[in-house]
């Protein structure tokens, strides 16, 4: 077999070096030749690597830990979905006792949102014996607005409190 070495191919010295590095990393350096050459060594290595979490697994674990505090904001825009989340919440959130906590991202058009949520909740769960369960609606700031106003320096005209000019003159 003749191997065509195009300029794209990896130099064999580099490959050898990496193969050696790999086996050195996972094998105890007691073996004289640092290359996996028998079955027993291989099974040791296999067990060692199988035990480690894969990159996907650790990424999923990371995103779970970051996401537990946050509710998915996109879903909160429709009230029907809010209710389904609410019923989920009731079963999961034990430490809050008889309270259901909602959070939504505030926007100007949602001004009546808190009141609406309370009326909807009362309408739907009136008949069921869930009256002792209190509902609490909280809001949080839109991350964009927060970023705009706190992290970045806003434009001068946003910050200035303009007097209503020439209204009475």
């Amino acid at each position: 077999m003749n191997i065509i070495c195009s300029s794209f191919s990896y130099p064999s010295s580099f490959i050898d070096q990496q193969f050696r590095k790999f086996s050195l990393e996972y094998l105890s350096s007691s073996s004289f030749l640092p290359l996996i050459d028998n079955e027993k060594q291989y099974f040791l290595l296999h067990h060692k690597i199988i035990g480690q979490p894969t990159i996907q697994q650790s990424q999923v674990a990371m995103s779970i830990t970051t996401a537990t505090g946050n509710i998915d904001f996109d879903q909160l825009n429709s009230i029907e979905e809010m209710e389904s989340i609410g019923s989920n919440k009731k079963s999961t959130k034990k430490p809050y006792g008889n309270k259901i906590l909602f959070h939504y991202t505030h926007e100007k058009r949602f001004q009546s949102f808190k009141r609406d949520m309370h009326t909807i909740y009362e309408d739907t769960f009136k008949n069921i014996c869930a009256t002792e369960v209190k509902i609490m609606v909280g809001n949080r700031n839109r991350p964009d607005a927060k970023h705009e106003l706190i992290r970045k320096k806003p434009k001068r005209e946003i910050l200035q409190n303009k007097p209503n000019e020439s209204k009475y003159f």
Binding site: S7, F8, S9, Y10, F14, F19, H46
Partner: protein, 110 residues
């Protein structure tokens, strides 16, 4: 799944299962060796073994060595493919084959 009874009964069962729900269709393949995700499962007279599955349509190709990637990329390509080989091959023989495959892929690249 593995099945000890005849192939006919299995096909019958799966066809029945396909009628349970109009939106859920079961697609199946019955043979001695089966690809599942990135693993190729082989049943050799009752002994199951796994090795890395390479799609027949996917050509073995990685980033060319002369490409302007930062240098750790090339080392990591080799490290990751070796790790994957260890993960999914259940026998030493399969691992050796996979090692050879990786070496050839790197040498023949491009």
């Amino acid at each position: 799944m593995t099945w000890n009874r005849s192939e006919q009964t299995l096909r019958h069962l799966l066809n029945e299962a396909n009628k349970w729900h109009p939106n859920i269709k079961i697609d199946y393949k019955i043979s001695k060796t089966l690809p599942f995700l990135d693993v190729l499962l082989t049943n050799n007279n009752g002994i199951l073994s796994t090795c890395v599955y390479h799609k027949p349509t996917a050509e073995p190709y990685v980033v060319p060595f002369i490409s302007d990637h930062s240098r750790h990329v090339f080392a990591n390509i080799i490290q990751t493919s070796l790790k994957r080989a260890v993960r999914s091959s259940s026998t030493f023989q399969a691992f050796q084959d996979e090692q050879r495959y990786i070496r050839l892929m790197l040498l023949y690249n491009g």
